[in-house]
């Protein structure tokens, strides 16, 4: 009699959010318990890249059944080993439950969060071990490179990418195939391809997740691009803030060299190509391509005038193509499945999919990849699960500091490059920060201007000085000192700065102000005319008050107040001294009787 042993695989998400939620200790218990029950030879534990459902972490999926476990703890891991892996009974309490309490065991098929997604750039995230090249190969990895080198001329590769309609995913949406073609046409003894992994837009983390979860797809995309344009060297410029991505890229590059996918005479052809990592040093402007190249050259990362464009004269004066991480990760599937397949997804002018990072006031935070042209409403409500705590959605911010806010009345907009532009914002790198009625739009504009002032490289006066003046005006307005004249001045400066700045950072810096003024003018007016902040966010315009009817005198607020602004006798209503209060909100957070509220003015 023979005993059939069915091997199981436990895929544990090792994305940033799951790690911070305690993934390491969960994995450790899985491994310990599997050893204890002598299951370690038939059950494999694999750490994968980000699965996307970040607010449910730590996550694990157990195959062959495809059972999806969420919010794991070391205790949960132990139970799952004993019940599920040993006895074959999925542990219900760690399965995902829908809003009505119904159990959904199989995530990819049953969860609305996953159901609507089409994964191309993130096809391997959460599926393979990013530190193992064999797993990447097992998912058709490096097949596209092989196809390109053995069966296609560089011109054919360019034609394929061009007809796929792929556009840059880093923000501006320039057609990738065209960029490659322009570079190919420039004769030079040396050309470069650069992967722009300086993901700086606050609220966007798809590049980080791809680099951490599937580094080989980026390397393969770069090698294909290098072949197409005729480059023999590549650089990946990655943020210093992403140490794990750097570590995994280093591992991936080593493995790719070992397997002969990088280096001299790749796959026995006369094509040679190698990649070097360059680490950024914390300058947002280095996401701009000319600044990025200056930084790789070891200089201050300041942009320069274009033309000449990088495809003409780039890194060290040589023709250079710069592509974003997500763009490159799309390249291998396009080569393998064909341009037509890719072009059949998306809209007329925006082909394929886009990865979005959902963050802010939204129930399901995380990463999603969806076809271009999906409506914002579907993205926020069907996939994102809507706004938690019953608040009303006010706006969705896209495009980071270069973008703008889309108000609730435009939720039915189709998300593609052109439609977002019409609404006064941009696709950007795909960060979407959802804001609700507690967020003040003037304050949001001020936040972004503060960012731009910090990150302006200082080269052009309109950007360096102009954004500072705009920030001062916004500070004046949010502290209740603003006038109508200030609003006019803001508009005027916005116009001037966007016309007179050299690079994208300055040109787009006024966007957050212009877009909030366009849709939320009444909030600006409330700050200026009534000295009132409708969202009760601007500190100078609010006070915290205790409702004596509701306060029971439990002293919780007085104890938590860091500046001792709250007084009162035990079991008697307390009071807040507005002169001492720093408006930190700690008291409101601890009050269990809903007795503390904000008022404005």
């Amino acid at each position: 009699m023979s005993v059939a042993v069915v091997a199981s695989t436990v895929l544990i998400c090792a994305g940033g959010a799951c790690i911070s939620a305690g993934e390491k200790s969960v994995k450790q218990v899985f491994e310990e318990k599997l050893r204890e029950f002598a299951l370690d030879s038939v059950v494999q534990v694999v750490e994968t890249g980000c699965m996307g459902a970040c607010n449910l972490g730590p996550l694990a999926v157990i195959y062959p059944e495809g059972i999806f476990y969420q919010k794991l703890t070391p205790q949960a891991a132990e139970e799952i080993v004993v019940e599920h892996l040993l006895k074959g009974r999925p542990v219900e309490k760690y399965l995902y439950k829908g809003p009505a309490g119904e159990i959904k065991a199989k995530s990819q098929e049953e969860l609305p969060f996953f159901k609507r997604q089409v994964k191309i750039a993130t096809r391997n995230l959460g599926v393979i071990d990013p530190t193992d090249i064999d797993e990447y190969i097992g998912r058709d990895g490096y097949f596209a490179l092989m196809k390109v080198l053995k069966e296609m001329t560089p011109e054919e590769v360019i034609a394929e990418i061009k007809s796929s309609g792929l556009r840059g995913r880093g923000g501006a949406g320039f057609p990738t195939g065209l960029k490659w073609e322009l570079c190919r046409k420039n004769e030079a003894d040396q050309k470069f391809i650069i992967c722009n992994a300086d993901e700086g837009d606050p609220g966007a983390f798809m590049d980080r997740s791809i680099l951490e979860g599937d580094p080989h797809s980026v390397l393969e995309g770069m090698a294909i691009g290098a072949y197409a344009i005729g480059a023999s060297r590549g650089f990946i410029y990655v943020r210093a803030e992403y140490p794990l991505a750097i570590e995994r890229l280093n591992i991936a590059i080593e493995q790719a060299r070992e397997y002969g996918f990088l280096g001299e005479n790749i796959l026995g052809t006369d094509f040679s190509f190698d990649i070097e990592i360059r680490i950024g040093a914390g300058a947002f402007v280095c996401g701009e391509e000319t600044a990025l190249m200056a930084s790789i050259e070891g200089e201050r990362g300041q942009p320069r005038v274009k033309p000449p464009y990088p495809v003409q004269s780039g890194l060290w004066g040589k023709p250079t193509v710069i592509n974003n991480v997500e763009t490159l990760a799309n390249v291998p599937p396009i080569i393998l499945k064909g341009a037509q397949w890719f072009a059949s997804i998306g809209t007329e002018t925006s082909k394929g999919t886009k990865v979005f990072a959902l963050a802010g006031k939204i129930r399901n935070t995380g990463l999603v990849e969806v076809p271009m042209g999906i409506t914002l409403r579907e993205l926020i409500y069907e996939i994102g699960g809507g706004i938690p705590s019953g608040k009303k959605l006010k706006a969705v911010q896209t495009g980071g500091p270069s973008g703008g806010c889309i108000p609730a009345e435009h939720l039915d907009v189709r998300v593609d490059y052109e439609s977002l532009k019409e609404l006064g914002t941009i696709m950007g790198s795909g960060g979407m920060v959802v804001m609700d009625e507690d967020d003040c739009m003037v304050d949001v504009a001020k936040f972004f201007l503060g960012f731009t002032v910090e990150e302006s490289c200082g080269k052009c006066t309109p950007c360096r000085e102009g954004t500072k003046v705009m920030l001062d005006l916004l500070e004046k307005i949010t502290s209740g000192e603003g006038t109508h004249e200030d609003l006019e001045k803001l508009k005027e400066l916005a116009q001037f700065i966007s016309e007179a700045s050299l690079c994208g950072l300055g040109q787009t810096a006024p966007n957050p102000v212009l877009s909030t003024m366009r849709y939320f003018w009444d909030e600006y007016i409330a700050h200026v005319e009534e000295k009132r902040c409708p969202a009760k966010r601007c500190k100078a315009l609010i006070r915290y008050v205790i409702d004596p009817q509701k306060c029971v005198g439990c002293t919780a607020c007085a104890r938590v107040c860091p500046v001792a602004a709250i007084t009162g006798e035990i079991r008697k209503p307390h009071e807040i001294d507005p002169e001492i209060c720093t408006r930190c909100g700690s008291c409101m957070e601890v009050c269990r009787f809903d007795a503390i509220s904000k008022v404005s003015p």
Binding site: A17, S20, P202, W316, G360, K361, V433, F447
Partner: protein, 162 residues
Amino acid sequence: MKTSADLDSSLYQRLDDYIESVKEKPGILINVLHKAQEIFGYLPDEVLEYVAEKLDVPVSKVFGVVTFYNFFSRKPKGKYQIKICLGTACYVKGGDKVFERFLEELEVEPEEPTKDGLFSVHPVRCLGACSMAPVVLVGEKDFYGRLTPNDVPSLIKKYREG
């Protein structure tokens, strides 16, 4: 080259070894500065002068680069660097309040170490962990998500007591 007594010469040796291994590569200055900061904890002026000499570039260029990038610090930092994300997602979820509470509790200015040298508080750009907003990173690896200002005292206590 004069080096002060409190900067260990073995640290310079480590820097030398690194420079030796990469100095043929063009544009390597930023990588060398990363390494120097990793070794010394920050970038004191004498280290910058040392790097300039070793790489044969003007000191003014090294200073220019160091002061341009946020990641480089010419001041010593605390033993535990508390990096508070002030990206958009963290901001709308109250990251600024967490930041202010850290400054209040530790009685410091941003980027300055506490008197005992244990902590320094750094506002940082998006850490890419937006789904856990607001987030704080202590050192290089310890991530804390979904913080409120009232979590701050116990977090500080945890590190103070080791």
